[in-house]
Amino acid sequence: MTPGEALAATGVDARAAGPGDAVAGVTPRWVALPESTGEVALVMRAAAEHGLAVVPAGGGTKLSWGYAPTRCDLLLDTRRMNRVLEHEAGDLVVRVQAGVTAAALASALGEAGQQLALDVMAEEATVGGVLATAAAGPRRLRHGTPRDLLIGITVVLADGTIARSGGKVVKNVAGYDLGKLFTGSLGTLGVITEATFRLHPLPASRAWVTATSPDPRVLTAVATLAGSQLEPSALELDRPGTHGPLTVAALFEGVAAAERAKAAAELLGDGSAISSGPPAWWARLPGERPAPDPAELLQETPGGHPTEDGPGPRLTESSPGDRSLEERVPQGGGFLLELRVPPAFAGRALAAVAWASDDAGGPPVHVRGSAASCVLHLAVPVDTPPGAAEIFVTSLRSEVAGDGGRLVVWTAPPEAAARLDRFGPVGAATLMRRVKERFDPEGRMSPGRLAGAPPAGSGT
């Protein structure tokens, strides 16, 4: 049996891949479209028997993050796993399939006055993808990141094993927390198929305070606000030009949000403004095109096909309803970096960005992110020469190292990508590699995407 026949024999919907399915330039041979954990296990067993390299993908909004896979035979598209499996409003808990999109989940939970307290940067992003990339937005300050809200997970390993940890209660210390392990794993340990989250009530009201300042001195006021008892839910900054003015914005949530925002405005000083809606750049990565209309996206999400279709080979041609990855990945193709430093060093981090840019011949850098948690995203234009990009990354990384900072290069144009150390030094790289070797001894799960965890001796 050929690998294609073996995939067909699973009875799981699959099709031949086209150039539009490429993952960071690597085109797979097949795309599988499972609808359940069980179907994922069938596909993974077939892939194991034939030694196929598998890359799981959700909305594809961050599929260009990290290194390009060294091999990709099968793209495992989770978007048909789009069911909310259990939502017990009284327990403030939801269990979903990994292909549920952030927008669909927000709408389902909103009906019950609840939310998953994560700011997802793209409406098309799926729950599984958010976990695999550990992506979080402004409210990380109050609610943490995906790992802080995840209470249970189901995964399928490279050999088809279905494994679960945690559960559907918030307080639970039984067994190892595989959910934590898979958070940030970029598809290299297995396929995330289901996730259970703790929820929060939607706040009664929200208010934003924004202030624009010619220079980073405004960060002193931000630090005061972060250390105040006003309890902002988020404290963000946006600096579109490398040396340019800086806008900061604070979010308050609750019955008395407006009252607290007023007190915050006094701290931020003259020129600050209170609004009931966020600034346009809120919860968006720098360097991206404006947000698409979520309603339009929902219509285009392929619905599940009837399961009564029965088993049988269904290696079909690409269906027109499936938007290819190429169409879903945010355009722009520039550099996206993530800079983290301890919060007191936010001002020094901004200065370091400007110096590194000067060192590299002055490519413009757009900085945006969480000022109080100090997780900043940096966008550098696509036409920055690879050599300059390399100098920028090396210089910035060494500049922030003394403050305990980290710099990750999430995306880079192909010519520059080959020259860049994407992740920098990671203290636990050896342990990560050992974990990877145990979970995926054949190195078939998204091989090469997460440096620091390559399978030993995997060669290519």
């Binding site: 940890s165 639970n172 979970f439």
Partner: protein
């Protein structure tokens, strides 16, 4: 029965050279001090105890254990309630109580760097002058060590709003089971090994330096005590509070028997005639708390509370918490012996599970006092018995075990905060499939291929690393339960 300690005199000699006579205990009488942790009915005298003072010393001890294939167990203050720090009679007990320096209170970065033997409360006390505190507050916070908190992922009464240890630790320096010193940092990309390490009950290595997040003290704290005729009406109030979109810092409930014990022990002076008391604590900006308090007060009265007391200063708050905090020890006043259970159910299943516990109590003729974190469904049934009465201990064990079965039937967990340890490893296969446990074992093998770090805890007889799992037969439980389907 305590097995006789093994002869590790060769290893002890090496430890003496590393740590000096002050850092090694081999005297049989002194060794007995360490034979159990807070779960006193499991005992084993360690072959040797070491008291290192630095991470390098811990690493040297662990390397020696690794070279000789000797099992080792880490222990902080020994307050754990699941036998997680139960020593091995054929192994080394590594006690971190001499590593108790607070290395840094870094207010600007809202963090503290501490050694593992520092007590939980000591961090808060060091941060308090700056207006900060360390949020997780297990009941034993005056004596429990932060290293132990990391091992157990400890919670506390306020974790409903603020989360657990894992949500407040920013970095851990650990000694791996092979004796390497490694830093796990939340800022690093890749697998969240920090998150996986916290709560691994000492089976993945020993934390030697811990960076915790400090939280700003809330502007206002208001505590409310409401007395209800019975647990059912109190439960109605809990559901209504959560349903109103309020996330209190804590919601605690005690039933009549627990109240009786607390009154006998500490004269907490709760409203007479209460069949249940509910303690609700709200904190945050003044304007938010004032509004929420009004809602909670109204909800309690509407739900059937016949008395409501309010505290907004530390002394009155302490008076309200006095009974709750003393509850575990207090049952000693009304019963010669007792078991403390720790199970979790979805909050909406609380009424059904409490009714189930009452039926178990009646069937076995064993009294059960209930103290629980009502907000997150974490039950601490206190199973009371007379150890002088023949068979009572066994019946109490049965009741305690069947309470866990009840929790699992309702989609809950066998432990919310006390850990699995040695006490509950046998329940793990009831909560997890063989595949789930084998997959967790992959993590263990990555960190500790020789299975030397706290062996025998959490997992029931795991396979050796490198052993290939057998061919599985039958239907996966997820399929059987309809949660996953194969076709």
């Amino acid at each position: 029965m305590t097995p006789a300690p093994a002869d590790l005199s060769g290893l002890s000699g090496r430890f003496l050279a590393m740590l000096g006579p002050h850092g090694v205990i081999t005297d049989p009488v002194r060794l007995r001090t360490y034979e159990c942790d807070g779960l006193t009915y499991h005992r084993a005298t360690p072959a040797v105890v070491v008291l290192p003072e630095t991470a390098e010393q811990v690493a040297a001890v662990v390397r020696a254990c690794h070279e000789t294939g000797t099992p080792f167990v880490a222990r902080g203050s020994g307050t754990g309630l699941s036998g997680g720090a139960l020593p091995r009679s054929d192994g080394v007990l590594i006690v971190t109580s001499r590593m108790r320096r607070i290395l840094e209170i870094d207010v600007e970065n809202r963090r503290a760097v501490v050694e593992p033997g520092v007590t939980n409360l000591a961090i808060t006390e060091a941060a308090r002058p700056y207006g900060y505190y360390y949020a997780p507050d297990p009941s034993s916070q005056q004596i429990c060590s932060i290293g132990g908190n990391v091992a157990e992922n400890s919670g506390g009464a306020h974790c409903l709003k603020y989360g657990f240890t894992v949500n407040h630790v920013l970095a851990v320096e650990l000694v791996t089971p092979e004796g390497e010193i490694v830093l796990l940092d939340a800022m690093d990309p890749g697998y969240d090994l920090l998150g996986a390490f916290i709560g691994s009950e000492g089976t993945l290595g020993i934390a030697t330096k811990i960076t915790v997040r400090l939280s700003r003290e809330p502007e206002t704290v208001t505590t409310l005590l409401a007395a209800f005729p019975d647990v059912e009406t109190g439960g109605v109030a809990v559901s209504a509070i959560i349903g109103a979109g309020i996330v209190p810092a804590a919601i605690e409930m005690m039933d009549a028997l627990a109240i009786e014990a607390a009154e006998a022990a500490v004269r907490c002076d709760y409203p007479p005639g209460a069949g249940a008391v509910l303690i609700v604590e709200l904190d945050g900006p003044h304007a938010e708390v004032a509004h929420e308090f009004a809602r909670v007060d109204a909800i309690c009265r509407e739900s059937g509370a016949f008395a409501v007391r309010v505290a907004d200063d530390p002394a009155r708050r302490a008076a309200i918490w006095k009974g709750r905090r003393s509850a575990f020890a207090a049952v000693g006043r009304i019963s010669p012996a007792y078991l403390v259970q720790d199970g979790v159910v979805p909050r909406t299943a609380l009424p059904a599970v409490l009714a189930g516990i009452e039926r178990l109590s009646a069937r076995y003729g064993i009294r059960v006092a209930n103290v629980f974190h009502a907000g997150d469904g974490n039950l601490h049934p206190l199973v009371l018995f007379d150890d002088a009465e023949e068979g009572a201990g066994e019946r109490a064990e049965l009741v305690s075990g069947e309470i866990l079965d009840l929790c699992l039937e309702h989609g809950g967990s066998i432990t919310g905060e006390h850990g699995v340890g040695v006490d509950k490893s046998r329940y793990m296969p009831k909560m997890f499939t063989a595949e789930d446990l084998d997959t967790m074992q992959l993590v263990r093998c990555a960190f500790d291929p020789r299975n030397l770090s706290n062996p025998g805890k959490i997992f029931p007889t795991p396979r050796l690393c490198g052993e290939v799992p057998g061919v599985r037969k039958g239907v996966h439980p997820l399929v059987a339960s309809g949660e996953a389907d194969l076709f």
